[in-house]
């Protein structure tokens, strides 16, 4: 490659350039993600379709007026009368064209439409709580690592363990009880008040915000414990390294040592944790949205499951997996951005 006869860069030399290596890595990662996504569709499709019951139950078996003929018609309409592998390939082919199919419920609207009208609420609640979590967990983690075994560290540890063990739905009920019923400060369910349409834009915003305070609090408490504990562990790990000793020895102030030298390295694993926490957040939305009666993705999924709406369930699972994979990819990219060692080694994962 670096022979004397080819001083200029030719296509044959391309594999040696850093940019090419980075692109190759990205390509390999994307290919792998597609494979994972395919695996997820395969597993969930078979699990869901092999389970007893079908979307036609609601309209036929459970409905005394409908007969066997109506059931057959419905099954033919949904394509449920074909062999399972044919159904899977049909579904997969449509998915590749960006078509998630129509909901198998009575309204028969496209799955994607129904998902996209619910997505903003769930995603924005998660995003807000994520920002809050990071804003609280990172300083708390740093402080308890730096003041190890201090009163602060001990109380944080106690809170963390309580946070880990706290069922989110119970916390939600308690918050509703205190702030909604006893103190009457905040509304306990729904997204808007009865008089919402008549409010001014600012009033609308305040109304929405008041309705979202409790759900977002529950989301945040749920992820706070794990995140601050993890931050603390990473910080402790970094503080034992030789370069921290060097930084201290050359006379830097503790503040500089922590913020300039330790923090950046301690944040790396936290980025990965963020990527990994996406499935949990998506799952948690089912419970939180059902308690607070919020029209988000979780509630959509819950009702789809109850109605055995196959296309809707598959749509949600695929979307959840895509969000998770996107989170992981983003985490990987940020990781590579923050840590030059990862970039150069070009190693998988």
């Amino acid at each position: 490659m670096d022979g004397p006869l080819s001083p200029a860069l030719t296509p044959a030399d391309l594999p040696g350039t850093p940019l090419f290596a980075a692109l190759l890595r990205l390509g390999r990662k994307l290919f792998w993600m597609l494979l994972v996504l395919w695996g997820i569709t395969l597993i969930s499709f078979w699990v869901i379709h092999l389970a007893p019951g079908s979307p036609t139950d609601m309209e036929t078996t459970l409905n005394p007026v409908a007969g066997a003929a109506a059931r057959q018609q419905l099954e033919a309409l949904y394509g449920l009368d074909k062999p399972l592998h044919v159904q899977y390939f049909d579904w997969l082919t449509r998915l590749l064209h960006g078509d998630f199919g129509n909901s198998m419920s009575a309204d028969a609207r496209p799955v994607l439409d129904k998902i996209f009208e619910r997505l903003p609420l769930t995603v924005s609640m998660n995003a807000i709580s994520l920002v809050l979590t990071l804003l609280i967990a990172i300083p708390v983690g740093i402080l308890s690592a730096c003041r190890r075994n201090s009163l602060l560290d001990r109380s944080v540890t106690v809170l963390v363990f309580l946070g880990f063990a706290m069922p989110s739905f119970w916390l939600a009920l308690l918050l509703m009880l205190w702030f909604g019923i006893d103190l009457q400060w905040l509304p306990i369910s729904g997204l808007t008040s009865m008089d919402y349409p008549r409010l001014s834009p600012w009033g609308k915003f305040c109304d929405l915000a008041r309705h979202l305070v409790l759900p977002i609090t529950v989301y945040t408490v749920g992820s706070l414990a794990g995140m601050s504990r993890y931050m603390r562990a990473c910080m402790l790990e970094v503080l034992r390294q030789d370069y921290i000793l060097t930084a201290r020895a050359k006379g830097l102030s503790p503040r500089q040592v922590i913020l300039r030298h330790a923090l950046r390295n301690a944040l790396l694993p936290v980025i990965t944790l963020l990527g990994l926490s996406v499935p949990g957040l998506i799952g948690g939305s089912v419970i939180i949205e059902s308690i607070f009666a919020l029209p988000g993705l979780g509630q959509l999924f819950y009702s789809a499951v109850m109605a055995r709406d196959y296309t809707m369930i598959m749509g949600n699972l695929v979307l959840g997996a895509v969000l998770t994979l996107a989170g992981n990819l983003l985490a990987d990219l940020c990781y590579g951005f923050a840590d030059p060692r990862i970039r150069s080694s070009g190693d998988r994962q």
């Binding site: 494979l35 994972v36 695996g39 997820i40 597993i43 969930s44 699990v47 869901i48 389970a51 007893p52 019951g53 363990f161 309580l162 880990f164 063990a165 706290m166 069922p167 989110s168 739905f169 119970w170 009920l173 308690l174 509703m176 009880l177 019923i181 562990a233 402790l236 790990e237 034992r240 990994l276 499935p279 949990g280 998506i282 799952g283 948690g284 089912v286 419970i287 059902s290 308690i291 999924f301 819950y302 499951v305 109850m306 055995r308 369930i313 949600n316 699972l317 959840g320 997996a321 998770t324 994979l325 992981n328």
Partner: protein, 278 residues
């Protein structure tokens, strides 16, 4: 009853002692439910409906006049049972796949690890919900599904241990002596990897209890009239304004139990990994 060295050890490890205390207390309460419960769990005292905690009903009654304390004790049996069996299932799957993956390496390892990656990308609570809603939400199904969707952590851990253990001399010696592969895996390698695995299992029990109570809270878990902490909370939610004790105590029971298992698991992990407590 306890020998002095054990007492000293627990005295130095307050978190472990507290966790063990909680776990033992909760297990005894659940096991002894038939003797400890003041009333049968489904006895309806229709003249004492929705009563606040009193001397007669220590934690109050629900809308059918059933004693909350008795239902909590019986519900504890369900929660702990689900925790143990689901934890056991995920432990056996994770251990077996981890051993195979780490021992045979190459394409077997690649295959298993990719399966783990796929499972980790699943919004698993979605999948659990879907499966449970489709199958009958029976106790057995819940335990199996929770077990099937939570083995990945154990699998990675066992694989990592196996990768290093398989290079050790005692494994080579066993191989040379003509020991069968399953026997090498489960008899020679597994015991040496047991400590971290059991700790993960402790945390897994706590996780399973939480998932079960979430499912029951959504009405997809343990079905009434069988009491479970999750479905008691679900029933309590309807009357939270007038009878908050219905919602407070079951949640407290979940919190304390999960806390106990987490404390045991985490403090044992700290003990095993001295780097963290250096």
């Amino acid at each position: 009853m306890m020998c002095p060295s054990v007492r000293r050890f627990l005295g130095r490890n307050g978190m472990l002692a507290l966790g063990l205390g909680i776990v033992i207390f909760m297990s005894l309460a659940a096991l002894g439910a038939p003797w400890l419960a003041p009333y049968p769990p489904d006895a309806e005292h229709l003249d004492h409906v929705l009563q606040a905690p009193s001397a007669e009903f220590l934690l109050g009654t629900d809308r059918l006049g059933r004693d909350i304390l008795s239902r909590l004790l019986y519900g504890g049996r369900v929660s702990l049972w689900v925790g143990f069996v689901a934890g056991g299932i995920s432990l056996s799957i994770g251990t077996t796949l981890g051993l195979i993956s780490g021992y045979f390496r190459h394409w077997v390892d690649e295959l298993v690890m990719r399966l783990v990656d796929i499972m980790l990308c699943f919004p698993s609570f979605f999948l659990i919900l879907a499966v449970i809603a489709f199958l009958e939400p029976s106790l057995t199904n819940i335990m199996i599904v929770i077990g099937l969707t939570s083995w990945m952590g154990v699998c990675r851990l066992v694989r990592a241990e196996t990768l290093s253990l398989r290079e050790r001399e005692f494994v080579a010696a066993a191989r040379l002596a003509g020991t069968s592969t399953p026997r090498i895996l489960f008899w020679h390698i597994l015991p040496n990897a047991l400590a971290p695995v059991l700790i993960t299992a402790t945390l897994g029990i706590a996780g399973a209890i939480l998932v079960e109570s979430s499912l029951s809270f959504l009405g997809l878990g343990v079905q009434p009239p069988m009491p479970s902490w999750g479905n008691m909370l679900m029933e309590g939610k309807a009357t939270i304004e007038t009878a908050p004790w219905l919602s407070v105590y079951p949640g407290l029971a979940i919190l304390i139990t999960v806390l106990g298992y987490n404390l045991v698991g985490e403090s044992l992990r700290d003990l095993l990994d001295p780097r963290l407590s250096a």
